[in-house]
Amino acid sequence: MTSRQKTLYVDTRRCMNCRACETACKLENGVPAGPRWTMVTEVEVTQDGVDKTMFLPMPCLHCGDPACLKACPTGAISKRTVDGIVLVDKEKCIGCRQCLWACQFGVPQFGPDNKMEKCTLCVHRFDDGLTETACQKACQAEAIMVGTVDEISKAIRERYATSSRNQLFGNGILGR
């Protein structure tokens, strides 16, 4: 028995700050300027003496044990048992912002109605039989993966294994 938790993984080695995920998300979910369901953050680091920029899209992490859910006084935030997606019911939200103070990642957003809204992991798309979130579909660098933890770790391992095999034996440069 493995976890059915659906999650969004960003390969930060691949993300390159094009921001297509941001406008694709806005378009998909009808989000005006203001609340940002996903947002690419830019971080400057110096690694081994080399100056670099890194980029991390920061949508909701759909935590296994969500701090926002515990902080919510009205039960507006719920976690689906089928896939672990954390959702907010705007009807129940009173706009107290306790979720924002509780969340370590600055995810809860507040639009013109001052109610909490956030990334839904495009739950409507999966429930409709589609297989990708809007941001994942938009990602040119193929940096975003969505699935269960098992599926994602399998995909990452395959990517790594293929890369290693190619480098050693295939059309990679070490093979020649």
């Binding site: 680091v45 006084p73 939200c93 107290c96 924002l100 103070w101 370590q104 109610k115 790594y160 290693s164």
Partner: protein, 161 residues
């Protein structure tokens, strides 16, 4: 949304200076009970600070039979003290314990952000209280979290070691 008081519960040392300061400022005498910001000492060294969140749809407003509570255009929760009959319904209903009874005047009160310059924030010695726009707080949290995560990973497309 305008600025609101944000509490970083981890930074609170439980000194109750905010609570005493608020009481002094709003009630002109020292005390703790009628302060509009309340500090609770929990088990061990943990503390819990509670004050009004200026909810978009405040339960206190729904609870008030006298319609003494309203929302301003800027999003603040405002009280008309002259209409309050001290029934304490709002105090009972608020999930944050943000409304308190002003025992000097027998009316329910809650934080009014001191007209945009909250006294408690200015006197908090640990920085646990901040007066900040929610959007700004969200952005800075995202940035901080990203910086923590960035340092954890390598930044190379797959390569053999």
């Amino acid at each position: 949304m305008e600025k609101v008081i944000v509490v970083n519960q981890d930074l609170c040392n439980g000194c109750q200076l905010c609570q005493m300061g608020c009481h002094l400022r709003k009630n002109d005498r020292s005390g703790l009970r009628s302060s509009r910001i309340q500090v609770f000492h929990l088990s061990g060294s943990e503390n819990l600070v509670q004050t009004c969140n200026h909810c978009e749809e405040p339960i206190c407003k729904t609870a008030c039979l006298m319609e003494a509570i309203s929302k301003t255009k800027k999003g603040l929760t405002e009280r008309n003290e002259s209409a309050c009959i001290g029934c304490e319904a709002c105090i009972a209903m608020c999930p944050f314990g943000a409304a308190v009874l002003d025992t000097d005047r027998e009316v329910a009160v809650s934080c009014d952000l001191c007209s945009g310059n909250p006294y408690c924030v200015t006197i908090c010695p640990t920085g646990a209280l901040q007066f900040i726009e929610p959007q700004v707080e969200g952005l800075s949290k995202r940035q901080l979290a990203a910086e923590r995560m960035a340092m954890a990973g390598r930044n190379k497309v797959y390569q053999l070691p």
